[in-house]
Symmetry: C2
Subunit: 223 residues, 2 copies
């Protein structure tokens, strides 16, 4: 099956209090989004890479690529006003029978093994997502108060979330719902079961300045 | 009410693959445990600080204090073979009517405001612990498979966990149970309700080399 990476980079800079959208901020000397693209290119050279960007950022991105002499081949598609709409736009033109990895542009620290595990498992079951254990004690809060729960039963979800394209295309025809916090939650609405594979702890989503600090440290020490 | 910090530092170096127990590893030029002690001293100068250490580490710790000219006053008590037993040992000699903050020695990044919120709330309700939101999508795994849950209902628990000493002393007389992953879970067994207050995201528990990297970065950029 043809493998595709659909990298969604829809962020503005609002949560960072920066003018530059977070996916363009540099870590270890290179904009975050370039690190992310490189991860997928290095995973498999024949992988098709599609980057979904807000329309108003496309010009800036092309300028950045020139500036950094970034020549990793990738297609650019225009995003929508929500992540859901951006993924939907990115799926346009993708044929059935492919394996599509939907990935957050601001997760440059995904490991090669995480990507591999997701593709391999999705090839078998149709849908696979990476998860990690929760190390802290967990409490559940409801209207009656709060109580400890068994943390071993809960997992934190990352990306890439890999699906046979037929499933993604079908699921993304459903109307948008507030409970869609990731792609697996969309694909589940058509009755598809989701396989869980092991993620890597440093595969964080960079959304705050604190995350940026952590990511910098990881790049220096881990990669 | 008299305020006491009971700092539990029972770790060996096994998860770090280091010979030095993790609480003695330096970040930003100072052993982790010294940072932690300083945080409580800086919170309130009259605070009584008790550090619980494995018996075989006490000599080394005293040597370290000399080496680093660490003069913050603190008492040392000998730990047990489990965290539960260490807290129990630490409680010996503590009178009713105090407010006791049980804190992990390897959480040097707790903020002054987190400590304050816990003491203030425990003074009102008897028991208060700091929690933070979960930013990732969460899945629950059981024997039938896995499903997404509403992450807003779940919180990650940190320390210091602050209690009126009467409650702690009573609860720690109960026999040990595998479900005791923190002090709140022990105190709950005597029917006490636990108040949740806001923690601070960088208040991580340093247990792996990756955590050490993150903590180093936080110290450089956040504190």
């Amino acid at each position: 099956m043809e493998k595709i990476a659909l990298i969604v980079a829809g962020g503005s800079g609002t949560r960072m209090n920066t003018e530059i959208p977070k996916q363009f901020l540099p870590i270890a000397g290179l904009p975050i989004l370039m690190h992310t693209i490189k991860k997928f290119r290095n995973f498999e050279n024949s992988l098709r890479i599609i980057v979904v960007l807000p329309e108003e950022q496309v010009k800036y991105w092309k300028k950045l690529c020139k500036e950094y002499r970034f020549t990793v081949p990738h297609e650019i598609k225009k995003g929508g006003s929500t992540r859901f709409q951006s993924v939907k736009n990115g799926l346009r033109g993708i044929k059935p029978g492919c394996l599509v990895a939907v990935h957050d542009g601001v997760r440059p620290l995904v490991s090669r093994n995480t990507v591999k595990r997701c593709f391999v498992q999705a090839g078998k079951t149709g849908a696979a997502i990476p998860v990690i254990d929760i190390c802290e004690t967990v409490r559940m809060v409801d209207c009656t108060g709060n109580q400890m729960v068994d943390r071993d039963k809960y997992k934190l979800v990352q990306t890439p979330q890999v699906f046979v394209s037929d499933l993604l295309i079908k699921a993304y025809k459903k109307p948008y719902n507030d409970s869609f916090t990731d792609d697996a939650s969309v694909v589940e609405t058509i009755g598809q079961k989701i396989s869980l594979v092991e993620g890597n702890p440093e595969n964080i989503k960079i959304t705050t300045k604190l995350d940026l600090t952590v990511a910098e440290a990881y790049f220096r020490n881990v990669t």
